[in-house]
Symmetry: C2
Subunit: 372 residues, 2 copies
């Protein structure tokens, strides 16, 4: 059989307050297109369908429509699990009805031992889990970490292995040896207690993982992250996004890149250069900008946004020295004009001109009047 492996849709996610819903819809249409062109027998979504446990109504409407389109309109069997960003309970709404239409959504540990068979393949759907949940399930307090937990889980799963079938695990966790690289992933303790050793996953012919957003986070032929289908943070700016097309017999894996609708660009330059270059960049894309000017430019973010409306972060190569004021009793006795002059010189690296000083004095006098 042939299936499409994707994960980490994070429907409803924002990028520094910019909604990504339209981009997510466009990304979805590409995934749907890839599934159709490759005539897949099923689509696997390995967790984090939503970005949060209580997504807003627009996100709910959007994901409902996507799943409805893939499953009820296009008639793709769907295999999905809840990730750490999803509420297992909320996401599970409707799952008993979904199953009648070959949409298999599992959000419980117990459900992971009820494999789904499609053509030559058994799929084991393991949602994101907590260690205590696994201890309770097996009534085994000797489970100390997530790898112990996964050993128990995989051993249990192998009992349900049908011979002569391909065995695929769909899961959402941090696999040992993989690199966490992006800000938009949930913070996980790298290595050690919080990681599953890839050896533990050896019984499976393929492991379709979700959690990390970079498909290159793990370098393993049969254990793969699909990564997120689009860039969700500046730290993902240089990652190529896409989906895996997996064939079971003979086994083969093909990477199909997806084209970002609005890319994230990392720009570096001085103010004049950035403005001069602006016409080379799509207006609606996202920008992370490193500003190289030494001098302070008032209201620089808003000025740059006239050229790059969707700046998601702005850094300075030469961070202006932070003014250090000690507001002790002595300083309070200094005149506001002297304090301002000192602040100016510290921040700008030069003294106020006599014109600036005169202007400041006038402004301060006006302000003082207002106080009485």
């Amino acid at each position: 059989m042939r299936f499409l492996h994707t994960a980490d849709w994070h429907i409803g996610k924002t990028l520094n307050n910019f909604s990504l819903l339209e981009d997510q819809q466009a990304m979805f249409k590409q995934i749907e297109q890839v599934a159709k062109e490759n005539k897949v027998d099923a689509i696997v979504v390995a967790g984090d369908l939503y970005d949060r446990s209580i997504p807003n109504e627009a996100a709910v409407k959007t994901l409902n429509k996507m799943l409805q389109e893939l499953n009820l309109c296009d008639h793709f069997p769907l295999l999905a699990i809840s990730g750490n960003h999803d509420s297992a309970t909320r996401l599970s709404t409707g799952q008993d009805w979904f199953a009648y239409q070959s949409f298999y959504l599992n959000t419980s540990l117990a459900g992971a031992f009820n494999p789904l068979t499609i053509k030559d393949t058994q799929f084991f759907l393991l949602p994101f889990f907590g260690i205590q949940e696994v201890r309770n399930y097996f009534d085994d307090d000797s489970i100390k970490n997530v790898n112990d937990a996964m050993k128990k889980i995989t051993t249990e799963m192998t009992k349900y292995f049908a011979p002569n079938k391909t065995h695929v695990l769909v899961a959402h966790f941090f696999a040992a040896g993989s690199k966490r690289t992006a800000d938009s992933e949930t913070l996980v303790e790298v290595g050690g207690l919080s990681a599953v050793a890839t050896d533990t996953l050896a019984p499976f012919d393929y492991v379709a993982l979700g959690h990390l957003h970079n498909r290159r986070a793990l370098n393993n032929e049969k254990i793969k992250y699909s990564g997120s289908p689009m860039k969700f943070s500046v730290s993902e700016a240089k990652q190529e996004k896409g989906v895996w097309i997996v064939d079971t017999a003979p086994f083969s894996v093909k990477w199909v890149p997806l084209k970002p609708v609005h890319d994230i660009h990392l720009l570096k330059g001085n103010f004049a250069e950035l403005i001069a270059d602006a016409s080379n960049y799509p207006n609606e894309d996202f920008y992370d900008i490193e500003l190289t000017n030494k001098e302070r430019i008032p209201d620089v973010l808003n000025k740059l946004r006239e050229y790059y409306p969707r700046i998601v972060s702005l850094h300075r190569t030469h961070q202006a020295q932070q003014a250090q004021f000690n507001f002790d009793k002595k300083r309070v006795q200094e005149s506001p004009l002297d304090l301002l002059a000192e602040f100016y010189s510290q921040t700008m690296g030069s003294e106020m001109t006599s014109e600036q000083r005169a202007w400041a004095e006038k402004a301060l006098t006006e302000v003082m009047k207002g106080e009485n």
Copy 2:
């Protein structure tokens, strides 16, 4: 055909911070039993399945299980709409899959004009709606109130009437002539602009309403509130709760009462009487108590809760006069002891004794020390 008419389940509702989930589950089991015993062909739930637009996870789990049991286990066709307490979007999750199993959930105005036929009956499922929504739908700004809106809606619905069928409307609104009696209903403007005249509903053979919690709120043979299946506020304490069993041919309506698991009692008496009577009342029931003692009894609520653990409200027949303090500059200059003495006399209706005064003075002195 025969169907069961219920509404206003409000899953997740609390009664003064006491969870009602267990009571709601028991109430559900009774409804299920009534449906089985009466061999109904469908179950109608006329809105407010949840108590709030974002129900908590326990409520989500509970309602999901109830619907799953009625529809997928017992194989009852379900007909449901969203009420004003539900989020139409959130509640709609899964609805396209539900329909394959004869669970017809409608949460949109457009869907109201797509009747469902079960045996001899066409059901029109009209969710709770806003007037602007109706104006937009019909592109008609002449709609001034909810009755205008309903006239448009029913006229449109009659276009889809199949001859020789019984026509049933399922809706969630305030019908003119009905009485709002309970605190747990959402505040509606009674009569006038916010009510639907019963004349407007004349085209239907039966109207299964939700919204008001008292089935006696409206006295009409063919337009009925089922009321909530259990008491949700003290103001509903004296209402009999239940469901309607409706037969279409020949038309007949039968009331089937449900037995409350934990009833709400209205008690009145002095402290000694209330305590003496406590053994006559179930410990886990809910109580609204009117205390007739004239004198103040310190910590009276907690004392009564030793006998009636689930008091949801406590009133006094002789409410102690509310102390009126004017914290103007003059009063601030009075001594704390004088202020306390005045507060005591106003609240208790008598002066402090010399012992009380001495104790208060000592306590105040201690407090003052701490200030420096």
